[in-house]
Symmetry: C2
Subunit: 284 residues, 2 copies
């Protein structure tokens, strides 16, 4: 059993120093709570609502020379806590990536580049073209993906099929209207992703409105049955959620004497290539 933590942080675009301090503070709190792993938000160093691509470029750093990842390495070494968080990456050909790193006491174990870009990110970032990493750690097998990625069931499923016990997901969920009393659809999708795959999903969102964008909050840790073990957090304020998780539970996909979430798949019948664009947008 491992304590998994998610940190909902107050961040500000361009305030790298303040953002790194908020992350360090949260990792410290998580370590005090005994966390074996802590998830930080998407683009945790740069902030999110860039005025233009040039602003993002000014804040991006190569993964191998990123002060953010260096800080997380120092923190991971000091606290023996694994850190998964988002950072603004400058790629080898000067492309920008919306990336996340998994860092432990030995250093950066994986860098993942967001494959499904949200809204104006498409004007700033190059989409990643690799699968989510699944890192084998002493605490279990940890997959990493970012925000809108979670809304593609193929991506979550693929990561579960490749053995992830837990998906750590840095997000920046922009707030949107919803019916009174309803849990945000983003939270519902994260819960469903956990349930249909029998895995843990740990989501860290941010707070503090930025250039007119506010955030859902809703950070949570969903268990393999889809119900939240911690959260969803309230919007508008920082939060640190931490809860005991038995990651080995995600290895047993049986849900009763006759069903197994993954073995029950009819993969021979599944098709990913059926999209007929002509069926849609006929009236655009």
């Amino acid at each position: 059993v491992t304590v998994i933590a998610v940190a909902q942080l107050s961040l500000a675009v361009g305030d790298t120093e303040g953002n790194l301090a908020a992350a360090a503070d949260a990792v410290g709190q998580a370590a005090e709570a005994g966390a074996g792993l802590v998830v930080l938000p998407e683009l945790c160093d740069s902030g999110y609502v860039f005025a233009d691509p040039a602003e993002a470029r000014g804040l991006a750093r190569p993964a191998d020379r990123s002060p953010t990842l260096r800080q997380w390495h120092d923190l991971a070494r000091a606290s023996q806590t694994v850190i998964v968080g988002g950072f603004c990456e400058l790629g080898p050909d000067r492309q920008l990536f919306n990336s996340a790193a998994l860092v432990d006491a030995s250093g950066t174990r994986a860098v993942y580049r967001k494959a499904h870009l949200w809204d104006k990110e498409k004007q700033v970032f190059t989409p990643g073209d690799g699968p989510p990493p699944v890192v084998i750690l002493p605490i279990g097998r940890v997959g990493v993906m970012i925000c809108y990625d979670l809304e593609f069931p193929e991506w979550v499923r693929q990561t579960a099929l490749r053995g992830a016990d837990l998906i750590a997901a840095p997000v920046n969920w922009p707030a949107a209207p919803r019916p009174p009393g309803e849990r945000p659809a983003e939270v519902v999708k994260a819960q469903a992703g956990a349930a249909v795959n029998g895995i843990y999903i740990a989501v860290a969102d941010r707070c503090s409105a930025e250039r007119g964008v506010s955030w859902i909050g809703g950070s949570l840790i969903a268990g393999p049955d889809g119900y939240p073990l911690a959260g969803p957090a309230a919007a508008g304020q920082p939060a640190l959620l931490a809860v005991d998780c038995d990651l080995a539970r995600a290895r047993d996909k049986r849900i009763n004497a006759n069903n197994d979430l993954l073995a029950d798949r009819r993969a021979d019948l599944y098709r990913a290539d059926l999209y007929r664009a002509d069926l849609y947008r006929a009236d655009r």
Copy 2:
């Protein structure tokens, strides 16, 4: 705009006459509410908790000689309402199928055989090996799947990719414990399936405990943003939900100026074949 209805019915295993009467009554109510389509529960004619395969066999009928489908045809003709409901099917080689039919005034338009079997159904039924039908109707394009099928995101996605505006899903959701205040995971999965695909999902569950099994209730109609337009219904009692649905909304997958739920898919990166059974159940 079309009124879509779902009927949560009180059924009893073996009481074909009573079950057909309950269905007829519900279709009548739906027609009075102006429904263009009404969904009935899974195995709506036979009931669900069979003592043994022989009992199911005694209740199964071939689709082309099914009194159930004949009744639905009569009702559809009289009311001009499309009916989607579950029935116990005797196959051409005497296999049993957990099937659903879509019936309109012209007769049976499609028969679908459940591909993902739940628990003891595996001892009774042969799994279907065809994709969910997507029937083009004046009201829109209607897909059909059954209960546990909904929990395989590949199946829902594939049906959306093939053009369904609405998935009509007869279910029998057995009740299971859940944390206080939580919506049942089955409902959450249906909502998420609607949201990630931008489609309507209309689910009809049953009620009335049967041989020790009780039911979630929770019948609902989820809109393309994943939020319930009607329901989830309370457990333990019949319900008829009916709500205006603009099925054309499901044709436009844009969710903002830069994102489109289906066009954003990275199908080149999706793999359905990665399941490594050796990663799981090592301790069985």
